[in-house]
């Protein structure tokens, strides 16, 4: 790091000592590299101009692909004629991130590290990049559904809609953490580069149609998260949580890889669609007498296959902090910097949940008995553990970690039910959960940065109502919505999930959910009591005015909590969304 800084310093001064690599060459290198990349991408995009386009998008098993349109040989070049145009949002994001990287090299100096000016310009640029990626995704939304790159990537309506959601959520999370970034050691350009690369990883992950692609994008996302979590390394707690996350995260990636290799060795392909067809022809129902038992006779290839899927599931469940793979969540949420925690608690969960729902509903429906059991037990365990453990928590971010474990438990049980209605309601639950958490984090950001009130522990919530009535009211509504009390939207989400659970005769699980929501209401009400009824140590008062985007985010998500008018909208969108699964 020091050498880096020296080069930095040297570059920024007018008369510099010669560093190891000549600066002239250095500059040429770091400017030419992205230009080359950009040129290459443009070449690929306009490939048809250069040579005749072949039939792109074919994969080896041709009978699978008869349903998919094949690129026609164009006489006229148009935008959608090449594979790369379908992933133009990701390409754009990647390119612009690298360009931003070089920009930051050349324009920042050691004086501008941890500086609000840096943060300002980089936030603006990152948001601009995310906005244009959003627009490009919107354009790709209107393209036809394709499988690209010989089966690595799938682009269809539901995938693009999920990408839009994740991009929007990432932009919102960035805006929420702006004030924090101004004041902390994260006010450097590396944070934004890592952030954008993590978003890139998540977006690429969503459109994966092959286990390798999924693994690679999870790795990109994972490595960026390792670094993002580790940025708080000044404190002991931050260093501890970063090491924990790194070790556990790499371990889970290793398990994922092992699972993928097991599946490959038993089926011969890592492509989702070919695995799907292979599973269909394997007649699991012959080996397993009823959908509920694992049968008495398990042939060796089937054991390998099931173990492979179990390992893959374990790694994915780790990512969404489901029990029993939830141990990392409270420590990491506590020790990581605020900006990272905001991002990590909302966006990857949406993406991984989407992929899991695709697994259960579309690709690996033959293994429903496996998914049902694992999701059901993991969900039930998450609910029990999340509810019980949060009663003895005295710190804010841990509290949110445990509550998100509980919410993921609810969603997992909704996934395990597996009907179209329950999938719709799970998506609704994820959206409501995302709104509630966005609101909560924005309130926390306002309290920490504008009221200068450290919100580390739950007793720091005291007296907020006296400081700012509207903020206190908002906080109370968020907590009630997370607890699932009527008339807030959290209740509706939970009610619909309960309906689908009871509809599949999972009565004991429904009773469990109902009882656990009662217990969770207990600890939410304790926090609410602190917010409203208690006197603060000193009443926090507004020290700096609340910035407009943050205020807008807070109030919009507040309205989303209160009024359930948007539920029909999300519902119809989710319905369209799910039906698209089956159209592709």
């Amino acid at each position: 790091m020091d050498k880096f800084l020296n080069v930095f310093k040297a570059l920024s001064k007018k008369n510099f000592k010669k560093p190891a690599l000549s600066p002239f060459l250095y500059r040429i290198f770091i400017v030419l590299l992205p230009l080359a990349l950009l040129g290459g991408i443009l070449v690929l995009l306009f490939e048809p101009l250069i040579k005749n386009s072949k039939d792109l998008g074919k994969i080896t098993a041709s009978d699978i692909l008869n349903e998919f349109p094949v690129a026609p040989t164009p006489e006229v070049v148009y935008w959608g004629s090449s594979d790369f145009s379908y992933i133009s949002p990701e390409l754009f994001l990647l390119t612009m991130t690298l360009l931003l990287f070089t920009y930051s090299f050349t324009t920042t100096s050691s004086r501008s590290l941890y500086n609000y000016k840096t943060v300002d310009q980089f936030i603006f640029l990152s948001l601009l990049i995310l906005f244009f990626t959003f627009l490009l995704s919107y354009k790709v939304l209107s393209f036809e559904n394709r499988i690209l790159f010989k089966g690595l990537v799938v682009i269809e309506t539901s995938v693009m809609m999920m990408k839009l959601l994740c991009l929007g959520a990432s932009a919102v999370c960035l805006l929420i953490s702006k004030d924090y970034l101004d004041k902390s050691r994260l006010g450097c350009f590396e944070f934004f580069i890592l952030y954008l690369l993590a978003v890139f990883g998540i977006i690429f992950f969503i459109s994966s149609c092959d286990f390798f692609h999924m693994f690679l994008s999870l790795e990109i996302q994972g490595i960026c998260f390792f670094a993002l979590v580790a940025m708080n390394r000044g404190t002991a707690y931050g260093a501890e949580s970063s090491i924990k996350y790194f070790i556990l995260g790499s371990f889970s990636s290793a398990i994922l890889l092992y699972g993928i290799s097991l599946i490959y060795s038993s089926l011969g392909s890592t492509h989702f669609m070919s695995i799907c067809f292979a599973l269909k022809s394997m007649s699991f129902t012959a080996c397993f007498s009823s959908a509920n038992t694992l049968g008495n006779v398990l042939l060796v290839p089937q054991v390998k296959l099931i173990m492979g899927f179990v390992f893959v599931l374990v790694a994915l469940l780790f990512k969404i902090t489901a029990a029993p793979f939830h141990q990392w969540a409270p420590d990491i949420y506590e020790g990581a910097p605020f900006a990272t925690v905001v991002f990590i608690s909302i966006v990857p969960k949406i993406a991984v949940f989407f992929i899991l729902s695709k697994f259960t509903a579309v690709y690996f429906t033959e293994l429903r008995f496996l998914w049902e059991y694992i999701f059901l037990s993991s969900g039930a365990l998450s609910i029990i553990l999340g509810t019980l453990l949060s009663t003895r928590t005295y710190k804010t971010k841990r509290f949110i970690a445990y509550s998100s474990i509980t919410h993921m438990g609810y969603i997992l049980i909704g996934l395990s039910v597996g009907t179209i209605d329950s999938l719709k309601f799970s998506i609704l639950y994820v959206v409501v959960y995302a709104f509630s958490l966005v609101n909560f984090w924005s309130i926390l950001s306002i309290m920490e940065n504008n009221y200068m009130q450290k919100m580390d522990s739950l007793s720091d919530f005291r007296g907020i109502f006296k400081a700012n009535k509207l903020l206190g009211c908002n906080l109370v509504c968020v907590l009630f919505s997370l607890a699932g009390l009527p008339p807030f939207s959290g209740f509706y989400a939970k009610f619909f999930l309960l309906t689908s659970m009871a509809g599949s005769s999972l009565y004991i699980i429904t009773l469990l959910v109902v009882v656990s929501s009662l217990f969770s209401i207990y600890y939410y009400v304790k926090v609410i009591k602190a917010v409203i009824f208690d006197e603060g140590h000193k009443h926090p008062s507004l020290k700096t005015p609340i910035s407009l985007p943050l205020g807008l985010i807070t109030s919009c998500s507040f309205f989303a909590l209160l009024f359930f008018y948007y539920i029909p909208v999300v519902h119809t969108t989710a319905e369209y969304f799910i039906l698209c699964y089956f159209i592709s």
Binding site: P486, L498, T499, G503, V525, I532
Partner: protein
Amino acid sequence: MLNKIIILIIFTPFIGSALISFAKESDIRLIRSLALYTTLIAFFLSAILWVQYNPFVFKFQFINKISLMNHLNINFFVGIDGISLLFILLTTLLFPICILFSWSNVNFYFKEYVILLLLMESFLIITFCSLDLLMFYIFFESVLIPIFLIIGIWGPRRRRIRASYLLFFYTLFGSVLMLFSIIIIYLQIGSLDYQLLFFADFSDNKQKLLWLTFFLSFSAKIPMIPFHIWLPEAHVEAPTAGSVILAGILLKLGSYGFLRFSLPLFPFASVYFLPLVYTLCVTSIIYASLTAIRQSDLKKVIAYASVAHMNTLLLGLFSQNIQGIEGSILQMVSHGVVSSALFFLVGVVYDRYHTRILKYYGGLVQVMPLYTSLLFLFIFANCSLPGTCNFIGELCLFTGIVQDNIFTALMGALGIILSGVYSLWLYNKIAFGNLKVQYIPSFKDINLRELHVVAPLVLLVLVLGICPNILLSKLHVTTLLLKI
């Protein structure tokens, strides 16, 4: 167009609270008058509703349906029948006088107080006129949040937080299981439309299960022993307007739930569990009355009296004949009026002398004659003096109970005697005897504003005592066909 009046009644308090939220906090006069006008407009509209209601037809009138998700049958569905109409009128009557009473006693956060009261009014009106079981449940639960906040913020003592916790969790515990049974009903019938559910048939065992979960929820609200512990605490620790709403309307939510849902939807189970209901009610009556005699806090006496009265009317509700049901409905209204009036009067005295302990009061008739005459009327209405509506209510009730089970009627009548005991004892201690000047140096009689607060209730008590058919004439058709 007249159909939309119910939507107007529901949204008037919402709009009022939204307008008030824009007012400045220091502008108490504006907030007060805005709140009063809003609630008075709501009362006026419900009076129009009362007049326009057609009592000779058995169907839900003024139906309004806004469908949220048509294929899932989740709707915003409101409609009136005779019973709902009565309760809406009671609600819209009590809220203006609550606001009038809180004119100058609330020392801090007056704006938020009024906003919470108005929100609660909206929620209550929606609860009483909802024709969709899910909507009923949602607003039944969401009433808890304002009352929790009111007790917790504006209660006068430290113990208020404990009281609000107790209220919240006791009522929530039962309701959570009620959610489970609502889901089961939804899955069996496919819709939660009350007009549909009214004609639905559940099997005997299912009815028993569903009735039990509904019972848990409603009995915590009524409240029945052993779920009654929250009531004395909540009443004592609440500010006066909170107590009034709690006693006047929130307790009726439980019996309304029984009347509207448990009896018609699960008729077999209602008869099957009669011994349970009778036992718990009779125990509650006698236990609560006996406990009331021993209390040293003014509000606690009235709180335990509320428990006793609510359980008496529940006895009548389950007596499966028309006299019992109409008597219990009349008793609901009269209990709402009389308990509210008693809490108001206790609030008058508390505002002046800041104590509710019985020991410090005595001989008030010498210095506050007007007050004590009003207190006289309501205390004796509490023990069902003939000439007040309580008397006719209990008469009808007991006519109903006697037809079903004489032993229960005897025990309930024991409750009436005991109510006479604690009421007379209370009045005697407060009004007669020597003035306790060593505790309270100076006395002021009731002023004009507080008189206006209590006046409508006086009128109701006396008029309904002579001619209760004014109220009941709208209900006869509905109660006749309640599937008993």
